[in-house]
Symmetry: C2
Subunit: 179 residues, 2 copies
Amino acid sequence: MKFCSQCASPVAIRVPDGDTKERHICDACGQIHYQNPKIIAGCIPHWQGQILLCRRAIEPRHGLWTIPAGFMENGETIEQAAMRETYEEACTRVEISGLYAIFNIPHVSQVYMIFRAELLDGKFAPGIESLETALFSEKEIPWSDIAFPVVIQALQRFFADRPDDHFPPFVDTIVPVKR
Amino acid sequence: MKFCSQCASPVAIRVPDGDTKERHICDACGQIHYQNPKIIAGCIPHWQGQILLCRRAIEPRHGLWTIPAGFMENGETIEQAAMRETYEEACTRVEISGLYAIFNIPHVSQVYMIFRAELLDGKFAPGIESLETALFSEKEIPWSDIAFPVVIQALQRFFADRPDDHFPPFVDTIVPVKR
């Protein structure tokens, strides 16, 4: 952010009075422009013992597999966001079974909220952001070609919880991999 | 938003190519300015059978009681945000017991994420955003002077779950009250 979105004046970066963090401040109109974490909503789409994955047609991680997920929009519930993203990326309608995995990714200021969901009719197809969509049993999951660490962790936990058919929601934090 | 925060040109509002929703778009530099829901993180602070509430010194709902909660910041985890808000509003350190209540408030594009938490030493005091802070037993909760519907719902559920000492996390949606 370089300019005030209210009055077009250049913004300064400093700690406002009574605050503790640096913000983008407009000294012309007084507006303080806060920036906050974004929610990525998605689901683990289940159908007859298998999981529906999408192979990404977009960056980042073009060509790798993921669960349907994307940025929650204003005016939505998290469940609606997860169902919309699933429809956009895999052309399939799901019923939400419950909230399952919440991941903090503080280094990119994102929070993933992943539901368990059931396909309504088993029909699916790649949306414009997907190269292909396919059902995978636990043994068939392409672990080395999964796009994001949150997806690996959510799926591993899902398969660990599945024998007891008990899926308690959990919160975890992803830290950057040191190279 | 009236002006582009990257180049200060006036922004247009329309649906970008390949999108389905209206966005603020800068035709000068091409930037699309997305707006997304915000997370409000907080906790139900527990100490020896009582709940710590704060009486608000700020608008909205000045003078009414609430649990400590506020906007999650970039770079934080939700747990860190809940603990920070609790320290800012009630000058007390808590240990997070678990995620408990998630509320969609789609008409204001907010998601509340409320944890259960335990005071570390039972000491507390009003922060600058609070007029007073006090511990309440279930019978003492000032139900008619609670600031927000999410707080009433979270506390009612907490007291309903408490006899079994089992607090399964839940997701609910707040709809505007028709007057």
